[in-house]
């Protein structure tokens, strides 16, 4: 399954719920304000780091760049562009958006 999160981890609990309920081997794509979860030095990044043992984590690069966070991306996170977003959606049978 592909999980998509678009809310800041420090504003809503969508990111926490996603990590709690995503099963091993799932993919997590962070977009819009959720990209802050993959920036170094945050509590969310530590959670994400731990979760990466079981999950593949992707971040939408244009959203990172827009927010001035391109230089702070957590290691091990895969950056994708809009084409990569489409590919991820196509590769997975189901998609859960954590609104």
């Amino acid at each position: 399954m592909l999980h998509i999160v678009n809310k800041s981890p420090s504003e809503r609990n969508a990111f926490d719920s996603c990590l709690r309920l995503a099963t091993k081997g799932s993919a997590v794509l962070l977009i819009e304000d959720a990209v802050y979860a993959a920036t170094k030095g945050t509590a969310a990044a530590a959670q994400l780091q731990a979760a990466m043992a079981d999950l593949k984590v992707y971040v939408l690069a244009p959203d990172m760049e827009a927010r001035g966070m391109a230089g702070r991306v957590l290691e091990g996170v895969n950056l994708v562009d809009y084409g990569g977003f489409v590919d991820l959606a196509a590769e997975h049978n189901t998609c859960q958006s954590w609104l």
């Binding site: 800041s8 420090s10 304000d33 030095g41 244009p62 827009a66």
Partner: protein
Amino acid sequence: MDEASEGVVKKFMFLNRKAPYGTIYALESLEVVLISAAFDQDVSLAFVDDGVYQIVKGQHTKGIDQKNFSPTYRALEGYDIEKLYVEKEGLEARGLTEDDLLVDVTVLSAAEMANLMAEQDVVISF
């Protein structure tokens, strides 16, 4: 405006708590702040929680097809809006320091920010 209220200067604080781009709050706040400058009031801007992300350096929005309004914070000085405050705890929780910000700010502890808020006549929250 009646004569009695003319020339009264109140302390206004714009409290910014949302990241830019994901929602419209940050941009709306900035527009209200620019308009408020015309009324010659004692205006402060506070950046708390995700609001600190609004003034982070190096924003490039071409890829998301939205206007990059971060340079406008640097115009505030010309509008005589020079009181910008950032909550220390909010900055640190995001792995950021004052050097990561694109405008000069005063960094306050949560306790100091609380006192500053309590001093205001009006707090407008975004």
